[in-house]
């Protein structure tokens, strides 16, 4: 016991002595304003689980873009650091890792801004932490968050509770679920001529949001909603569910949710009970886009999809900078990205780089450039999403509200049209 006591005492004394010898250390997270320095952009995505296929492609697309610009913007050298916010135990994004990553972003002295998070729930944890950065607020730009509450009034307390320092530090380059759900309902009524819809949601934050937006818009369009209920992702079969729905006689089904919540089985059982997608129309949001497994299902042929922006297929057909990026990606990695979020990852980086170029190289300045004055605008000739866009300096939302409508045909997602949002 005496020996133990001596060892502990020596260690404590040593630590205190070291502390007493030192002066003040460099504060973590401090970023100087000197020119020619290296700045890091972090990406914060779930790199494990069902979303990994998409997020790895987003990281690859960003790497490719940084190579194309020579890792330079103004006098700054730009490096990329990839963070993983998923865990094997969760198989998806993990709140504990979102918390840890947010602290790591702030602690990494040369990190200037973050692309991400991929999931709105994770962003809701990280944004308030980055907002309180003593050298910030630190900027976060998401390429995929569609939950409205992050930027505009939605649930009680939103969005102000995510900005404890009363300054905005979050922006996104995709439009929100309310717009996507609205566009899906308008398309189904005006173009497909449906009268009676049954809505299913995956009981996730995203799925509930987009399904509710669809239901709300349906009321404006005199589209009858026969029901809105969650599907249980753990069920081996949904034939019982669709038998119940069949009795109500719907002419369309809207799936508010993600394909990785057992969406494949849901689509198979829908066709088995209600017939193919020409008889009873089937539509899903962007949670069903980018999945080769879905696209090649015989039962998914004829299924309509919406995407809160411009899709890979449409951008390829349009030509320009986006098409060039897709071609370069295919040349480097052997095939074009299956997810349209890859290009939106580049768009998020373009926003950050534009803010860096106007700033003095500090986090505070970069964030300020985006949310004050003229803000940031990405011109059409360089835009990764094929058209000029800017960030609303008050909310952080993107000003381009396009929603793309696609249909699965010949085992691929085919462009149908851009749906203009009307209120």
């Amino acid at each position: 016991m005496h020996k133990s006591l001596k060892m502990i005492t020596a260690a404590v004394v040593g630590a205190v002595a070291l502390a007493a010898c030192g002066g003040s250390g460099a504060s973590p997270g401090s970023t100087g304003g000197s020119t020619g320095k290296t700045l890091i952009i972090g990406t914060d995505f779930p790199l494990q689980g069902a979303a990994a296929d998409e997020t790895i492609q987003v990281n690859q697309a960003i790497e490719l873009y940084l190579e194309q610009i020579g890792h330079k913007v103004g006098n700054y050298t730009i490096e990329l650091k990839k963070y993983d916010d998923s865990s094997a135990a969760a198989g998806k994004w993990d709140p504990a890792l979102c918390t840890k990553n947010a602290a790591d972003h702030v602690a990494n002295a040369n990190e200037i801004a973050v692309v991400g998070a991929f999931n709105s729930g994770c962003s809701k944890i990280e944004v308030p932490i980055l907002n309180q950065d003593p050298n910030g607020p630190m900027l976060m730009v998401s390429n995929s968050n569609t939950n409205p509450g992050l930027t505009k009034s939605w649930d009680p307390g939103e969005p102000d509770k995510y900005y404890p320092m009363s300054k905005r530090n979050y922006a996104r380059v995709v439009t929100t679920d309310d717009n996507q759900g609205r566009a899906a309902a308008q398309f189904m009524v005006h173009d497909l001529g449906v009268k009676k819809c049954y809505v299913l949601n995956d009981n996730d934050t995203y799925g509930q949001g987009v399904a509710q937006a669809f239901v709300t818009e349906a009321a404006n369009l005199q589209l009858q909603i026969l029901g809105n209920e969650p599907w249980d992702r753990a069920q081996p079969s949904y034939t019982g569910l669709f038998e119940k729905i069949k009795a109500l006689g719907p002419d369309c089904i809207f799936l508010g949710g993600s394909f990785d919540n057992n969406g494949g089985q849901l689509v198979r059982d829908k066709v088995a009970v209600l017939g193919d997608n020409t008889a009873v129309k089937l539509m899903g949001p962007d949670g069903f886009t980018g999945f080769t497994v879905l696209d090649t299902l015989p039962e998914s042929q004829g299924m309509y999809l919406s995407f809160p922006g411009l899709t890979r297929a449409g951008l390829t057909a349009q030509g320009g900078e986006a098409a060039k990026l897709l071609a370069a990606y295919a040349a480097k990695y052997g095939a074009p990205p299956t997810t349209s979020y890859a290009l939106y990852g580049i768009a998020a980086v373009q926003v950050i780089l534009a803010a860096i170029a106007k700033s003095d190289g500090t986090r505070k300045s970069v964030t300020s450039q985006l949310f004050s004055g003229a803000g940031v605008t990405i011109p059409a000739d360089v835009s990764a999403i094929g058209k000029a866009f800017s960030i609303d300096t008050a909310s952080g939302d993107v000003t381009v509200l396009d929603t793309t409508i696609e249909v699965i045909k010949d085992n691929a997602e085919s462009f149908v049209k851009i749906w203009p949002i009307t209120s």
């Binding site: 016991m1 133990s4 006591l5 060892m7 502990i8 260690a11 404590v12 630590a15 205190v16 070291l18 502390a19 007493a20 010898c21 030192g22 002066g23 003040s24 250390g25 460099a26 973590p28 790199l47 494990q48 990994a52 993983d84 998923s86 865990s87 094997a88 135990a89 969760a90 998806k92 993990d94 709140p95 504990a96 890792l97 979102c98 918390t99 840890k100 947010a102 602290a103 790591d104 702030v106 602690a107 729930g121 809701k124 944890i125 308030p128 932490i129 309180q132 950065d133 003593p134 649930d155 009680p156 307390g157 509770k161 995510y162 404890p164 009981n203 996730d204 934050t205 509930q208």
Partner: protein, 417 residues
């Protein structure tokens, strides 16, 4: 770190390895190590060069230690149920979840129907919606509610053993998170906010009164000021105190009458009953005490993450907790602590960092964290093959397992080995 586990010989009778001096020695070690860690991160780390500082922040960030402490608290609670009383519990995550949600209800703006806010010694800003209770009090409330829940789950399982007990607890562990998932509309009332979870929570303060902070050796030590997301050092101290309380309670109960009753039930329930050990009372006490600590872990977890989400409380969490107990050494608090710290670090930081270093060194692009369960499972298999009793086993467990090995050898050799 020396462990000084007493060596047992055939001639030496089994004795408690938790004599008073032993307990004091370990208390000294725990306090000393916890203090050194805090001093290092608070005073020494800022003085280290950029390279060394970055290395430590990448490989052993204090935030990861804080998260590991949550696992430690819950693993100590589970150790009482599984390690002490021998009751297999596959649903411990339920208590973790209940604790987390109690923290979220009592420390946030979630109940916006309460427009002027209910405040009690809270560090939250004034004039907010919702309930804002001091976090120390929330710890006590959460522990008590979970202890009651432990008795509720424990009561119907009193007649069950082994597989059946495991199934009932597993069911409980599945039901509770589902309740939180579906609790968004309970007769029109939003109790849990469903899958959207509850965030953010109030910032906690170490004490509800006193000066905002004191300056010590160039560092600012918060006293009554709210802790922000970057006050990980102060949160570390708070979490260590909660863990220390759990360790203290666990060790003291183990030495007492109740602890001996638990061990007797674990070794042979029928014999214990014949010797006059009150089975019902002892088992319920094990569930209640274990659940109390699970509730504390839930509050600490919610404060650490500043949020709670129902899908985080999955069955896998119960299994990982059980693995921590088995791997560290069932029944031995210190073994369980080492198991929890080691596995928690490996999950959150160790493997991802190892992957980054490997990929950087060899120019590969291997997703190391995706092999987490492969490595994890392999370790468990190897442990079961070569060290069934865990890394730091309880003396009693070790002797029971070693005795079996010796008997097998004697049968083969026909004599003494």
């Amino acid at each position: 770190m020396s462990l000084d586990t007493p060596k047992l010989t055939e001639s030496e009778p089994i004795r408690s390895d938790l004599s008073q001096s032993h307990t004091k020695r370990w208390a000294l070690w725990f306090s000393g190590i916890a203090l050194v860690v805090w001093l290092f991160y608070t005073f020494v780390l800022p003085l280290l060069g950029e390279q060394a500082g970055t290395f430590i922040r990448h490989w052993m960030p204090l935030g990861s230690i804080n998260e590991a402490l949550v696992w430690v608290i819950c693993a100590i609670g589970l150790n009482i149920v599984v390690g002490y009383a021998g009751l297999l519990d596959l649903g411990f995550v339920a208590f973790w979840a209940i604790g987390g949600y109690i923290a979220a209800w009592l420390m946030s703006t979630f109940f916006d129907q309460i427009s002027h806010g209910i405040y009690f010694l809270s560090a939250a800003p004034p004039n907010q919606h919702g309930i804002h209770i001091n976090w120390w009090l929330v710890l006590i409330i959460s522990g008590c509610v979970c202890a009651f829940a432990g008795i509720v789950i424990g009561a119907p399982t009193l007649r069950l053993k082994s597989d059946y007990l495991a199934l009932v607890t597993l069911g409980f562990g599945e039901i509770i998170p589902q309740f939180f998932v579906n609790g968004e509309n309970i007769f029109g009332f939003n109790l849990t906010n469903g899958v959207k979870g509850i965030s953010p929570l109030d910032n906690v303060s170490p004490l509800p009164f006193g000066p905002p902070a004191v300056s010590l050796g160039g560092a600012t030590i918060p006293i009554s000021q709210p802790l922000g997301p970057f006050d990980v050092g102060a949160k570390y101290v708070l979490f260590v105190l909660v863990a220390a309380f759990c360790i203290f309670v666990s060790l003291r109960l183990r030495e007492g009458r109740l602890g001996r009753a638990w061990l007797a039930i674990r070794e042979d329930e029928l014999a214990a009953s014949m010797m006059g050990v009150p089975l019902m009372q002892s088992k319920l006490a094990a569930y209640a005490v274990g659940a109390f600590m699970g509730g504390l872990g839930g509050v600490v977890y919610a404060v650490h993450n500043n949020s709670v989400f129902p899908d985080r409380f999955s069955f896998a969490i119960s299994i990982v907790l059980l693995a921590m107990v088995v791997l560290g050494g069932m029944g031995n608090v210190w073994g369980v602590i080492v198991g929890a710290l080691g596995l928690a670090w490996f999950n959150s930081t160790g493997l991802p960092q190892l992957g980054d270093s490997f990929n950087e060194q060899f120019g590969t692009d291997i997703n190391f964290p995706s092999y987490n369960y492969l490595v994890f499972g392999s370790i468990l298999v190897l442990m079961m093959l070569f060290r069934r009793e865990g890394i730091f086993p309880e003396a009693r467990t070790r002797q029971v397992l070693r005795e079996a090995e010796r008997s097998d050898a004697e049968e083969l050799d026909g004599g003494e080995v």
